[in-house]
């Protein structure tokens, strides 16, 4: 039954929006989720696998009871080598991985294992930050001071050596770390590609170790240090989350784009849909891009000029495209579920980035190919600039897709013969389809200057916005993109806590929160 007044409205039906809606409904709020597209899922569908879902989310929404399963084994990675078989890394079989690497370098066989343990340990040190609303740097406020101290202690608990290690390597270019620890070019390439995937960063860009460490943060369904894949990937996760949201009592409408967030004297009062319907609610949670939420839906008239400038300047230019391949069967060289990586060296990645940062399509872009099933494969293409120099995507798209298929055929023999169709999703399309200015799949770049206290903007990292009652709960908020569910979790918690603390003005007498 549709009505025009709710306790909370969630904008966007990606995983973060669904989590926020489910949590708000679970807390007893009459909740409406509005998704612009025909289907739920948002950008989650662009990810070939889900391996770092927050255990807190799984627990809070009882996702396992609601049909979410985790595969017992971690994802295998094959490092593609032209003219040779792939170098296979299987986290489930450390012995085989050791032997495989030892064939290239005895030092790296030990080094790789040591590095994986080290990254997992450092990531565990960051973990307490990920599900916490970042503090305000307001030392006059004892609550904020206490939170800073707690986070300080959490880092201190890592021990002095790990803390020093973490502080030293976080801002490094990943290439420096790779060269310090490894000598096999393909392993160095893998480390760097994992660090820069999705970002406008090259192997030698500063602070690329940070996203690499974040990638090793613990996820649900796995012991510390290991990654556990969600069975069925993003689709299964979205199904489970939609089920959870509906079962908790949230109403979900698809094909319902929001045209405006309505404000009155700086307070959010509801939304107006593209269809012209006005829906009131004292709490609005937006999982949409922060720029879309604030600049497009709220509008600069209700915001401070310097805040709008800060938001405008937030970096988030998409550099990653996705190529979907429909197959009539798996090529012999690859097994379903396996991830095949084409990043033969640091120089290879950096060269491709150099071309892309000047708006060119790389001659030989690094790739991460996942065989999702016998009949479906997806390749993440790093780098594909949002804006091309001297041409545009409408002109370049088909030729680039064809070039990628040819290149993949050389790397994965027999692939091309199996390809029925190839569809390229460019950053430009990501921007349009998901209302994400720039088409960056983390909404905003995950650089050290745009995380934690600084995400999405300095001074506004508490999921709140200058509009009272309007909260952010998407990838543009801390801790950022990837399918963790943490922005949705933290955003919903912040909104519920604010409503509970009565920090916002009471809703009108005849409606709103009970």
């Amino acid at each position: 039954m549709s009505q025009s007044r709710y306790d909370a409205i969630v904008i966007g039906g990606g995983h973060n929006g669904l989590i926020a809606a489910a949590l708000a409904a679970h807390a007893g709020r009459r909740t409406l989720l509005l998704e612009a597209g025909e289907e739920l899922g948002g950008m989650a569908g662009l990810a070939p696998s889900v391996h770092r879902l927050s255990a807190t989310v799984v627990e809070a929404l009882q996702l396992k009871r609601r049909g979410l399963a985790f595969s017992a084994s971690a994802q295998r990675t094959g490092l593609l080598r032209e003219g040779r078989g792939p170098l296979s890394l299987d986290p489930n079989d450390p012995g085989a991985t050791h032997r495989a690497i030892a064939g290239e370098s005895a030092a790296d066989a030990d080094g790789w294992r040591r590095l994986q343990t080290r990254l997992a340990r450092l990531a565990a040190g960051l973990a307490p930050f990920l599900e916490e609303t970042p503090p305000r740097l307001d030392l006059a406020d004892w609550g904020e001071r206490w939170k800073l101290m707690k986070l300080g202690f959490a880092v201190r608990r890592m021990g002095r050596d790990d803390m020093r290690d973490l502080l030293r390597i976080l801002p490094l270019p990943v290439a420096d770390l790779a060269e310090e620890e490894l000598e096999t070019p393909e392993l160095q390439g893998l480390l760097a590609l994992d660090a820069v995937m999705g970002q406008k960063m090259g192997a030698r860009s500063p602070n690329t170790v940070f996203p690499l460490v974040l990638r090793h943060a613990p996820g649900a369904g796995a012991p510390a240090g290991a990654a556990a894949l969600v069975d069925g990937g993003a689709d299964a996760l979205i199904d489970a989350l939609a089920r959870a949201a509906r079962e908790e009592g949230a109403e979900i409408r698809t094909d319902a784009p929001v045209a405006r967030i309505l404000t009155q004297d700086g307070v959010a009062v509801g939304v107006e849909t593209a269809g012209g319907e006005t829906i009131e609610a004292p709490v609005i949670l937006s999982s949409a891009h922060p720029k879309t939420t604030l600049i497009d839906l709220v509008g600069p008239r209700a915001l401070d000029a310097d805040f709008v400038r800060t938001l405008r300047c937030a970096r988030g230019e998409g550099m990653t495209a996705r190529l979907d391949l429909a197959l009539d069967g798996a090529p012999e060289a690859a097994a379903p579920g396996e991830r095949l990586v084409h990043a033969p060296s640091l120089a290879h990645i950096e060269t491709a980035f150099d071309q892309a940062k000047y708006g060119e399509l790389p001659d030989d872009p690094p790739l991460e190919v996942t065989l999702e099933s016998e009949t479906r494969a997806a390749a993440l293409v790093q780098y594909a600039p949002r804006t091309l120099r001297g041409t545009n995507w409408a002109e370049a798209r088909e030729a680039f897709a064809k070039r990628l298929v040819d290149r993949m055929d050389a790397l994965i023999p027999g692939l091309k013969a199996r390809v029925q169709s190839a569809t390229l999703t460019t950053p430009e399309e990501i921007e349009g389809r998901f209302a994400a200015p720039g088409g960056h799949w983390h909404h905003l770049e995950l650089g050290l200057d745009q995380v934690f206290l600084l995400r999405p903007a300095p001074g506004w990292a508490q999921y709140r916005t200058p509009i009272e009652g309007l909260f952010l709960c998407g990838a543009g908020a801390h801790p950022g993109g990837g399918i963790t569910g943490q922005p949705g979790l933290n955003g919903a918690r912040a909104a519920l806590a604010a409503a509970k603390a009565g920090l916002r003005r009471p809703a009108s007498a005849d409606g709103g929160a009970q």
């Binding site: 004297d265 700086g266 600049i295 509008g299 600069p300 008239r301 209700a302 915001l303 401070d304 000029a305 310097d306 805040f307 709008v308 400038r309 405008r312 200058p466």
Partner: protein
Amino acid sequence: MIESLDMTPQQTQSPLLPRGPTLKRSPFHPRLAALNLANAWEAWQGYTTASLFYELEDEYFAVRTGSSLYDVSPMLKYRIHGPDAEAVVDRLVTKRIDRLKPGRVAYAPWCDGKGRVVEEGTIFRLSESEFRINCAEHQLAWFEDAAWGFDARVEEVTDEIAGLALQGPMSKELLRRVGLDEAAALPFFGVGDFKTAEGAPLTVSRTGFTGDLGYELWVAPDRALDLWDALMAEGEETYLRPIGSKALDRVRIEAGHILINVEFVGARHAIRESQTRTPAGLGLDWAVDLSKDHFTGKRALVAERERGGPKKRLVGLDVTGRKPAIGAYLYRRGKEAGQVTSACWSPILKKNIALATVDAAYASEGTILDAEIYYLKEITQGKVDAAARVVSPRFYQPAHRRG
């Protein structure tokens, strides 16, 4: 010296002074230079401007009892125009602009998101869709940020408009004598377009920085000298004098007008947070409407009001004795209470007056503070202690300024 006036700015460039281009000369410069017997100049926003012409006291009394001309061409001027111009200016400043009718002027500060004053100035509404803002510091980047996302354009027009402040009780009479009766009849804070006797377009606003009856006249630079000559030709009976910045500073203190970089530092330039002020801290509460639509800084100013107001406030001081309390420290029962930002002896009031920033606790009128005044005693520094009574900073508000 006179010869050098004929040199171009390029010719006066010297490798010994590697400080960028020489100061520009205002369109009035040829007349100002000829009259500047004191040869006292200073820089103002890249222009050469007169500090003094011949005698401070005479220049001062021209403003207060006759009429005066002060070259305001270097003042920064911005044109904001387009369908959304009203929304842009309304979002920019603390006053309601939807209520400002074409042909009217508003004075208002504008703030950053933290509610700290960026600058203040006069806002001319020239038509439904065109505004001009006059102020003392460069604002183009800030105004462009304010206009981003709106259908409006911001242009700096400083060099396109020459300005002359005609101030003093005889200024209205002088305008009539040069045939500008309609301009003379402008209401207080009115602005309009007129024609000079020679037929040149002229914009006149009933505004000023002296607290006296007065106007500001705006013309194209190539008409500047004609305007000057026409006014000076009728100046005998209205006691018309060109004045420099020294005389202006004295009259603006009497009027209680604040000056950027003296009473406060603009939020966008301040190195120290402590040197910035909110409008309430500068005594500009009256120019802030917290019930209007959103403007930049509104949330911060509402929060400040809810906290009970600013920690420091600008006040006027009536100081005993004759020594101007320039830079004086202020104490209350031995505890530091604030500092003087501007001070002078007011000849018209026969009072020793000052503008000061004090802790809010000491800002109520009637509070007596102790001023520690240092002054130059030939070659040594002297010190006097004086009592300073907190008063309204509007020291001199003659009824004829609105007449």
